[in-house]
């Protein structure tokens, strides 16, 4: 198992405690609560698409091989209202992702906890309507 793509073994029952209320669709239709994932990755691009933004990421394994992942983020309209824009997450940024893998086993996951490598939240809900992005 790669250090950078450690599949967690926490029981699904505990993980299901949080109800997915922010999604346009149902979590269970797309993702598998029994396949938690946690990895460090480099942002390739952020797709500001509706109904959900997606973050394209490169994940480097111990063998140096790079694997492309896609992580589902929030609704772009909601993120915009929180003050974010296309410059807020630039390619090359290193982030940590925790979430759950797609049911079909492909390299996709929902974003449950996404932080910068120092633990700062990626999207801090500190901004209001029409204001600029929060300082990062």
């Amino acid at each position: 198992m790669r250090k950078t793509l450690a599949v967690l073994t926490t029981t699904a029952g505990l993980l299901l405690a949080a109800v997915p209320v922010w999604a346009h669709h149902a979590f269970a239709a797309e993702f598998d609560a029994s396949k938690p994932v946690k990895f460090r990755a480099t942002v390739v691009k952020m797709e500001w698409i509706n109904p959900h933004a997606w973050i394209q990421l490169d994940v480097k394994g111990d063998d140096g091989k790079v694997t492309r992942w896609a992580v589902e983020a929030a609704a772009p309209n909601a993120l915009l209202r929180r003050g974010w824009n296309k410059s807020s997450l630039l390619p090359g940024t290193e982030i940590l992702v925790e979430g759950f893998q797609a049911k079909d086993g492909s390299n996709k996951a929902n974003g449950s906890i996404i932080t910068f490598t120092d633990g700062r939240k990626l999207f801090v809900g500190s901004s209001g309507d029409g204001e600029g992005p929060p300082k990062q």
Partner: protein
């Protein structure tokens, strides 16, 4: 469980929790008193003399307010002053939590995205339910024949093991949320941009991007042979109130709840909406729902729509990025394959 049912249940569950705040810089509203009377304020007029209700309005403040009133409130539509103060304190706590720059070290990985990615109410909703009439705030009984009515093939029923794109609801397919589903407060995208011209009012609704063009000419509805998801609207002014009657729905496509969820309504549905500007930044919204093929009696839903500094509708090109369709179908196939291999 159907996806939208999950969302609706989640929203109901959330109402038992502290309410939310979005903009911590905005001054919290004073504890609400009894709703302002519609006649207490005379609003502006358009150059051609109609009441001016233009602007972008949002139902955000009632995010999380349940359609049906929780039993403990009985016939009480409004929270007490103490209950409102408690909810306002909860909003402040939520705003503080949203602003935390670092993820807590003991944060648990849940199946939902972080709460601070969502949109928030700016002040506590005064109401205990969105249903304002009957007095118990509950949906009237459903007729027996409505309970067994089936959503037609291809119209979307949120099959948990979808075999086709047609197995998803119209909401998940980014087609429509229906009239009430497009204005009832939901998790995000509650913007309602109203634009007026002589003889017409248009309401541009952010999520799923509906544009309701409402003629004010009055008169009869179009032929009952002409039916659509959003129906045929006819508007007129009663004093400062825009009254919109909508009929000619296709029926059996979307429900009355947020995002068009819940039991699908019938082709006999008639909606009578009332939009009254009660202050510069508040519209009183009410809709009487009359569906004699579904409910034993009409009922009324109401809540405030507010204008907020800087708030605007954003584009919602939902279909072009709707990766959930592909992922859900491929997920269902993977699930079937796993089940086959276990046999």
């Amino acid at each position: 469980m159907k996806p939208l049912v999950v969302i609706i249940i989640a929203i109901v569950v959330l109402t038992a929790l502290p309410a939310f705040a979005q903009n911590p810089k905005a001054a919290p509203a004073a504890a609400p008193k009894a709703p302002a009377a519609a006649k207490a304020w005379t609003g502006p007029k358009t150059p051609w003399g109609d009441p001016d209700i233009q602007g972008t309005w949002t139902s955000d403040d009632c995010i999380g307010t349940p359609l049906n009133r929780p039993a403990q409130f009985g016939d009480r539509l409004y929270y007490t002053e103490q209950e409102l103060a408690d909810r306002e304190a909860s909003l402040a706590r939520q705003a503080d939590n949203d602003k935390q720059e670092f993820v807590a070290s003991n944060a648990r990985v849940g199946t939902g995205p972080p709460g601070h990615w969502g949109e928030r109410a700016r002040r506590p909703c005064r109401q205990t339910s969105l249903i304002v009439d009957p007095p118990n705030g509950r949906t009237p009984d459903v007729l027996p024949e409505a309970r067994t009515r089936r959503v037609p093939e291809g119209a979307g029923n949120d099959n948990p093991m979808p075999a086709s794109w047609e197995d998803f609801s119209y909401y998940i397919r980014c087609i429509t949320r229906g009239v009430t589903g497009s204005i009832f407060p939901v998790i995000y995208g509650n913007g309602q941009q109203i634009v007026q011209g002589p003889g017409f009012v248009t309401i541009l609704q952010e999520m799923v991007h509906e544009a309701r063009v409402i003629p004010l000419k009055g008169g009869a509805h179009t032929s009952s042979n002409i039916r659509s998801y959003m129906g045929d609207a006819r508007g007129h002014w009663e004093g400062n109130t825009l009254v919109v009657e909508t009929t000619n729905f296709l029926g059996n496509r979307t429900g009355l709840g947020g995002n068009g969820g819940g039991m699908p309504t019938s082709d006999a549905l008639k909606l009578t909406e009332r939009y009254t500007r009660v202050s510069p930044n508040e519209l009183k919204y009410e809709v009487t729902i009359d569906d004699p093929k579904t409910y034993v009696s009409p009922f009324k839903v109401g809540f405030p729509l507010t204008q907020e500094p800087g708030y605007q509708n954003f584009e919602y090109a939902c279909h072009e990025g709707n990766n959930a369709m592909f992922n859900s179908l491929s997920g269902a196939r993977a699930q079937e394959k796993t089940a086959q291999e276990k046999k």
